[in-house]
Symmetry: C2
Subunit: 410 residues, 2 copies
């Protein structure tokens, strides 16, 4: 039975953590100098593990096995949020490296072909899941044209700076992968709060949303009587509150919705705002629930517009993602591995967060494995997981990957 080396795994995770370390967290945004340093380090680690490694034209790092046969691709992303945790995607990247090494060390598995990858910019400095989208043909020239980060840094300049301008980009169509496995921290409290140690993802929940634009009349807050106002803020508060009151009536058991961005213009206490924007995002594993949220939102918008005062216009968010179903066969292999190493302590569950596997599953079968996040914290310097959970997760992934490859027709 393939056995991973826990200390070696933790050692590499800690080395990667040191690149961009800030307090207990990590600041390693996509295509930054430290991100590229980490990616070049990863090339070296892939080489040392016997893989042929390269960085492609958007920064994806791919390590290819010398073994024949359709390979299984393992990995995640090593870029972080602007103030990110040390594990997040880094966990799955180093898991892939360790699984490659563990399989190569076991005479029973050393013939199996496992490639390792670190996708670029999952965290959306420039474009969410840019690396896996580029790989899967889902990063169009239109999306790329004029692309810049929130500080105005052009994607093209960042590529140039990283030495990637003109470097070829990898394409899934040029390979013949059996599928892709991604491990990740849960980023929520479900596993920990139920005393579970492994989650096998059934579905990456879909996501929809709307941007509401409120148009009123900017005015002096002292001299404009209430009856004469068209206050964009009043309409925003009314719509947001109505959504929070009405959505529970159409929600599923694990539906979530969030209005985390609201901007009043000009945003001064002495001025009746003439303009406002509110962003609504909702997620569910069931497309029908997403559709019901959209319908309810439009109905509430109509009610606000019938009231008079500021008017509101609803537009679908730029980002719309259908629920992504993980491969049933892969799930069974991972579940068997979880039951072997953590009997009775694993669960099949949806992923509330989006992941590269949600992109890659359009190009090949995918599956995902979660380990518990302490306190459910993620995208925060405080993010962490217990060492024993980190080690267990990698062992389950190794056993599952070996099982998938062994069962595959050659």
């Amino acid at each position: 039975m393939v056995e991973i080396n826990g200390e070696r795994l933790l050692g590499d995770l800690r080395t990667l953590r040191s690149m961009g370390a800030t307090g207990t967290g990590v600041v390693r945004p996509a295509l930054s100098e430290i991100d590229m340093t980490a990616r070049r380090w990863l090339v070296e680690r892939y080489h040392a593990a016997g893989l042929e490694a390269r960085i492609d034209g958007v920064g994806n790092v791919l390590g290819r096995s010398a073994n024949p046969g359709p390979a299984l691709l393992l990995g995640s992303h090593s870029d972080t949020q602007p103030t990110g945790g040390w594990l997040d995607g880094a966990l799955g990247v180093i898991y892939a490296l360790e699984v490659v090494r563990a399989l190569a060390e076991d005479p029973a598995t050393k013939h199996l072909a496992v490639d390792a990858i670190s996708w670029q910019d999952e965290e959306s400095r420039f474009y969410g899941c840019l690396g896996s989208r580029s790989f899967c043909g889902d990063f169009s020239a239109e999306a790329e044209a004029g692309l810049a980060d929130k500080d105005g840094v052009a994607f093209s300049d960042a590529l140039e700076q990283a030495g990637l301008a003109g470097v070829p980009r990898l394409r899934a169509a040029d390979y013949n992968y059996l599928g892709f496995l991604e491990a990740h921290i849960e980023q929520g409290p479900h596993l920990e709060s139920h005393g579970l140690r492994i989650g096998i993802v059934e579905t990456i929940v879909g996501l929809g949303g709307m941007v509401f634009t409120f148009t009123g009349q900017q005015n002096h807050a002292g001299t404009t009587m209430m009856a004469g106002r068209k206050d964009a803020a009043t309409a925003l508060y009314a719509l947001a509150h109505a959504i929070n009151e009405e959505f529970p009536k159409v929600a599923g058991a694990r539906s979530v919705w969030t209005m985390g961005r609201a901007v009043l213009t000009p945003g001064a206490p002495s001025i009746v705002p003439g303009h406002a924007e509110l962003e609504l995002q909702y997620r569910d594993a069931d497309m029908a629930v997403l559709d019901q949220f959209e319908t309810a939102a439009h109905r509430l918008v109509d009610e606000i517009n019938r009231r008079g005062g500021a008017t509101v216009e609803a537009k679908p968010s730029r980002v719309r993602i259908a629920p992504a179903h993980m491969d049933w066969g892969f799930q069974k292999h991972l579940a068997a591995a979880a039951e072997q190493h953590a009997p009775g302590n694993w669960v099949a569950m949806p992923s509330g967060a989006f992941h590269d596997a949600g992109v890659v599953c359009a190009a090949m079968p995918c599956a995902m494995l979660f380990i518990p996040s302490i306190g459910g914290v993620s995208h925060d310097f405080a993010e962490d997981s217990h060492d024993e959970d980190i080690i267990l997760g990698c062992q389950v992934l190794a056993t599952g990957a070996a099982s998938i490859l062994t069962a595959a027709p050659t």
Copy 2:
């Protein structure tokens, strides 16, 4: 009967408009280079009108009459909002200049003592009504220490730059003024929409407010189930909407309230906000109504806190202003002048906006006169008033000032 010169008045208003002109508006923030240019120009105009003129240590421009007897002080402010209208305070500043000239030209009034002033920074680049506060002893060393504008420019550096460091500051206590008259555009639609041409201010409405701070738990918007959330935005929307539903029940006929500033942190669509701030401002001429608003706001805050989820804490706003009553005697003189020049076309009214007269009335009797704003627009490049209204307002002010001075015991 004293008669103002309408063309001369409009000419000086247009010259002042040219300093900082931007499209149809004016950009002349307090202590900027163009503001100081305008103030030095005003010194010249005061001299030409026979006044002894100077700029004090905060930028107030005072022109003093050579005539004996307690003088009447007339004026307003020549600084503008970051994107201001051309009239606003400039109207009252040039009115004062024209009234001085008109009185001096009339043998029946040339002995009357009228001083003219342009206060500094009414528009709060550094501190609202800084000039009139400094004059009235209401600009403390504590308020001045470390004072900076919103871009971080230190007040002390701005004074140095303007050549005002170490220049003495004028104090009301060093003079023996009969009182202060301020003319201003209405900044609201009341006069225009009722076909009226002059407003005599009874009260400058008081202002109170609260800053609400919401504390929740920042979390991932996909993996944090609704039941486990402490969403600062949800609590903000609920409180703001409740205020808009409940305040009408305790409001007076001319009460206004505004929540024009709301900030979610971190303010991203994919993150449950852990922190939020909402600012509430309310105005009324009646202190009791302001107190009722405060009580109602505290009750609604308690209700939000009883619900669970994010908590909210209410603190009184830094700025709290009691309603300021204009002098009854001065009002009668101005009303008689209005009836003389615009019979049946004037009205006694509150001022919903705050003005320097609201500060100065703590040091001496004050009164205010409004002319109509086209469309009620103010603090905007589009702000404007009709020439005939501008001329009429100045005539009413001249007649009223002469009447007050003539009636005063010498």
